[in-house]
Amino acid sequence: MPEITYREAIRQALRYQLQHDDRVFLMGEDIGAYGGSYAVTKGFLKEFGEKRVKDTPIAESVIVGAGIGAAMAGLKPMVELMTINFSLLAIDQIVNNASKLRYMSNNQISVPMVIRMAGGAGSQLGAQHSQSLESWYAHVPGLHVVAPATPYDAKGLLMTAFDSPDPVIFIEHTALYPMKGEVPDDPYRLPFGNADIARAGNDVTLIGYGGSFHQAFRAARQLETDGIDAEVINLRTLSPLDTEAILASVRKTNRAIVIEDDWQFGGFGGEIAAIIQERAFDHLDAPVMRCSGADVPMPYNGALEQAALPQEADIIRLVKSMVQR
């Protein structure tokens, strides 16, 4: 299989959709002439023209709202919001319209749209540009929340997103764009709600997604040298969440840690911990732990930023404290 980057994998899915479905069009800030702030749509304007690739004003609310309206009329818009931080300016459209229209209209209206945004931290962009708000979107019924961790996931999940009759919040981790991995040339689809057991193990379950999956995976490799056999789950989608895969793993390992970039307090890790203890209580040899971001606005300084983010060493320390329990 060819090795391509996470960025290229996303490009392949977008290009495929543009080529094979007339209802699909892209809109967003600087996706055309500029080539996309993370170069994901570079060249698309030339290739597909202004009708299919629309540069918009800097006006997040109307960009997303217009996407919703176009979807209501039967098109399949892909709206790019550059980064998840700017989605706060469109969040009323996402929460009060996109997620509710099917239900409020008693199934008369569908909103089949994909909203792409780059999330996560780690590149010293400062507090206003380093947020991980996926837990907020996962909280909202009517939305799907996808967070690919690998090039393979990115292409397969984005393909599936375009089949969804409902709005999909597609969160790409900024640090992963240059990462390479094996991706089939031909189109393929990865179902939502199907986690990937990236590494089988018996001693502890490490649960991650997007960027945090890789930390979990690297930690697992190191733990091996200490004779600790960790299972690593790549969630792929937060909503729907593959609860069964998580529970099956914990019933086997009896221990679990959730790894997330996001702030810990009130974050998604809490939901996973709550579900595990609720449904696998008697299987737990130790409390479900969380290795999360510190509860601070992200500092610019590099060392401080790393200190505010979960590190492999933190995971390893936590695991050891749990297996020794």
Binding site: P57, A59, G65, G69, N97, Y103, N106, N107
Partner: protein
């Protein structure tokens, strides 16, 4: 605010072939329907927020009659009149207010969220100005498909200071989207008079700042409304980009059923009631002998009957089953 009635900037001569009698009937239907709704609210049959359209009938009636039946309508939460004018079944509208399963939204939407996609009625929305981007999107889709279907987006005067008003008007203008924005300026947003919170009191001038074809019309005159919307809709349909119409009107009742109306005087309300759109048109049609007093009585009777039937239908309809609670949060994924 002012007790003067703003002069209409639109030629008020009725367009040819407009069925004034039908317009009158629709306005009467709306008026009666709202009275019945108020009664049902008092009797506890209708809950939540209820915003009545009484006094503003000419706006929705004239505008919607000037549109094609398949033109999209995207409205605010004060939308019973728009739904009736578009021809949604009165019984199913009332049933929605009752929260019954036969309601246009299956009892899940309520007064503020009427939907009937089969009639291109794309919904009533409860977030001020939050529906304007949707109107832009529907218009974008039709432009994209190359149809000549257009969108009518009804908003209140209170929406004009929201960021989304600005973003929507700018996008509609830059992309020449086929939308007619119709601002129902009833002088108040809840209890707040326009001039107290708005840098520019003449709303249509705001729209001009985006290079949008805009005008003001007497929203108490259904023929003027019909004429203005016919004219603007034709331009929009021809691909000349969006248009904006400010309709000066007045709501007779409080903002919602909870409103103590501390912010306006009885005199002001009385003044506007003298300009009542239904009375105006009735007198005109009697004067020019189009109809007689007894025709009016008959039309009233028809509205009464329609409304009574609607209430009866709503009353007798079942509630949605509790088992349906979790239905339609997500759609069925088509198997690829």
């Amino acid at each position: 605010m002012t007790n003067e009635r703003p002069a209409s900037h639109a030629k008020t001569s009725a367009a040819e072939g407009v069925d004034a009698v039908a317009l009158l009937q629709t306005m009467m239907d709306i008026r009666r329907f709202e009275e019945k709704a108020a009664e049902m609210y008092a009797r506890g049959k209708i809950k939540g927020f209820l915003h009545l359209y009484s006094g503003q009938e000419a706006v929705a009636t004239g505008a919607i009659a000037a549109l094609r039946p398949d033109d999209y309508l995207v409205t605010h939460y004060r939308e019973h009149g728009h739904a009736l004018a578009r021809g949604l079944e009165p019984g199913r509208i009332m049933a929605e207010l009752f929260g019954k399963s036969t309601g246009v939204s299956g009892g899940r939407g309520g007064s503020m969220h009427l939907f009937d996609v089969s009639k291109s009625f794309m919904g009533g929305y409860a977030i001020v100005a939050g529906h304007m981007p949707l109107a832009c999107g529907l218009a974008l889709a039709e432009q994209y498909k190359g149809t000549n279907r257009i969108v009518a987006n009804f908003i209140g005067d209170g929406s004009v200071n929201e960021g989304e008003f600005h973003e929507a008007l700018n996008l509609a203008s830059v992309w020449k989207l086929p939308v007619v924005f119709i601002c129902e300026n009833n002088l108040y947003g809840m209890g707040t008079a326009m001039r107290r919170v708005s840098a520019l009191v003449e709303v249509y001038k705001r729209a001009e700042a985006y290079g949008i074809d805009a005008e003001q019309v007497d929203g108490m005159d259904v023929l003027a409304m019909h004429e203005a919307v016919s004219r603007l809709a034709a331009k929009v349909r021809a691909g000349e980009g969006p248009a904006f119409l400010e309709a000066i009107c007045f709501r007779y009742r409080g903002h919602s059923m909870a409103d103590a109306e501390l912010y306006r005087t009885k005199e002001e309300v009385e003044h506007w009631r003298k300009l009542d759109p239904i009375t105006q048109l009735s007198q005109k049609l009697i004067a020019d002998k189009t109809i007689t007093k007894s025709d009016i009585a008959e039309m009233q009777a028809q509205s009464d009957a329609m409304t009574a039937d609607a209430a009866k239908f709503a009353e007798e309809s079942p509630n949605p089953p509790l088992e349906s609670l979790m239905q339609h949060v997500y759609g069925e994924v088509p198997d690829a």
